[in-house]
């Protein structure tokens, strides 16, 4: 039973399209995150939600919009996809007071053509 699951695993799309990545956790955590692993392999935080409230919003283009319908879900919608958006996107979750111990999903490989 997967703890943090994200779909799809692979996403290939054309420039200019709009796409969404979904994430769900069944660990009972109250905080969820989106990380982006860029071409240089750094894992960089994009967003963090605590109890459905946005608490971290790093410098990310406003084409990226996270949505948290409840504590167990955090989806990422991307408008007008660009070539530079190609990356691996990881969802993660944690308890708010244990932000150091993240549980990651297996990642979504996004390729923008």
């Amino acid at each position: 039973d997967t703890a943090v699951s994200q779909t799809p695993k692979y996403l290939v799309t054309q420039m200019g399209n709009d796409k969404s990545i979904k994430c769900e956790q069944n660990l009972g955590h109250d905080t969820m995150y989106w990380y982006k692993q860029d071409s240089k392999k750094f894992l960089k935080i994009m967003f963090s939600y605590n109890n459905k409230e946005l608490i971290i919003n790093e410098t990310v283009p406003n084409r990226f919009s996270p949505k948290s319908p409840d504590k167990a879900h955090l989806n990422l919608h991307i408008n007008s996809l660009e070539l530079g958006d190609s990356a691996v996107y990881f969802c993660a979750s944690s308890h708010h007071d244990r932000a150091e111990k993240l549980f990651f999903g297996s990642g979504t490989q996004l390729s923008v053509l």
Binding site: V4, Y35, K40, K41, F42, L43, K44, I45, S48, I55, I56, F90, A92, A99, E100, K101, L102, F103, F104, G105, S106, G107
Partner: protein, 113 residues
């Protein structure tokens, strides 16, 4: 400006020998440090951590050393096993209202049988 740096993208070690992975950081406000391990097609998983009030933490074959004056930490794996072959990410955390991890770019460890 990368605040957590792993300058060795890869490391190869013979089975049974010691693996030493290094990490440097620039932000003196970091007060908690972690190592995550990542296998292909999976998300990173927490491995071991250390608080800035300590200089060593050991968990089985894994030991993390922290040198605050040098802003340097290292992960020692001894003895190394083929199953340890993975990408190892160093991460750092600073306490505060919006606690978030800052990751390095990872080191690919290959343990040769």
């Amino acid at each position: 400006d990368q605040q957590v740096k792993q300058n060795s993208p890869s490391l190869s070690v013979q089975e049974g020998r010691i693996s030493i992975l290094n990490c440097d950081y620039t932000n003196s406000m970091f007060d908690y440090f972690l190592w995550y391990k990542k296998y292909p097609a999976e998300g990173p998983t927490f491995l071991i951590s250390i608080s800035s009030i300590k200089d060593k933490n050991e968990d089985g074959r894994f030991t993390v050393f922290l040198n605050k004056s040098a802003k340097h930490l290292s992960l020692h794996i001894v003895p190394s096993q083929p199953g340890d072959s993975a990408v190892y990410f160093c991460a750092a955390l600073k306490s505060g209202s919006a606690r978030q991890l800052t990751f390095g770019s990872g080191t690919q460890l290959t343990v040769l049988p």
